[in-house]
Symmetry: C2
Subunit: 95 residues, 2 copies
């Protein structure tokens, strides 16, 4: 199966950016060592008023690898990253 | 200046996927030849119920190059891609 791309758009209020980044780095550090992890890129909007202030785009070997990693860091993830977000798995269909 | 990443999340209702993809390809074909265009990747969610059924992630040389290209295809873009979307420019801040 083709690798999958996790795209997660975060709504982060003004003034919470640093707190978000600290929490994101903690979880990213854990996930980086999970089986099937390939890469991640955290994007910050140029416009501070953008609906989604941060968007993470990460590549995983398969949906199963991703779900297993989520299980593992589940609790910590929910506790540290308590921002409205819209995570979903995707496949690239056009380049 | 570092290149910028356009990330645009589209809400596309069930049954409109093919129509969306046709419209997206038409506009992408135009943008591909614009000055400062670097790359684009259209992502389709694995889950048909995902909030954002399609997300485009495109790299542009600068915000100015992107805005100039938008001006050029502006009318056509709005006419063909009439789906709720959340376009914004980003910079990669962590990998």
């Amino acid at each position: 199966m083709q690798s999958v791309i996790l795209i997660n758009a975060f709504e982060v209020r003004a003034g919470q950016e640093e707190q978000f980044k600290t929490a994101w780095h903690q979880v990213a550090e854990r996930l980086r060592h999970a089986r099937g992890f390939r890469s991640t890129r955290l994007h910050e909007s140029l416009d501070p008023q953008a609906r989604f202030r941060f968007i993470n785009v990460a590549e995983w070997e398969s949906p199963q690898h991703f779900q297993a990693a989520m299980q593992e860091v589940g609790e910590q993830l929910r506790a540290t990253i308590s921002y409205q977000s819209y995570p979903a798995l995707y496949q690239v269909i056009a380049e």
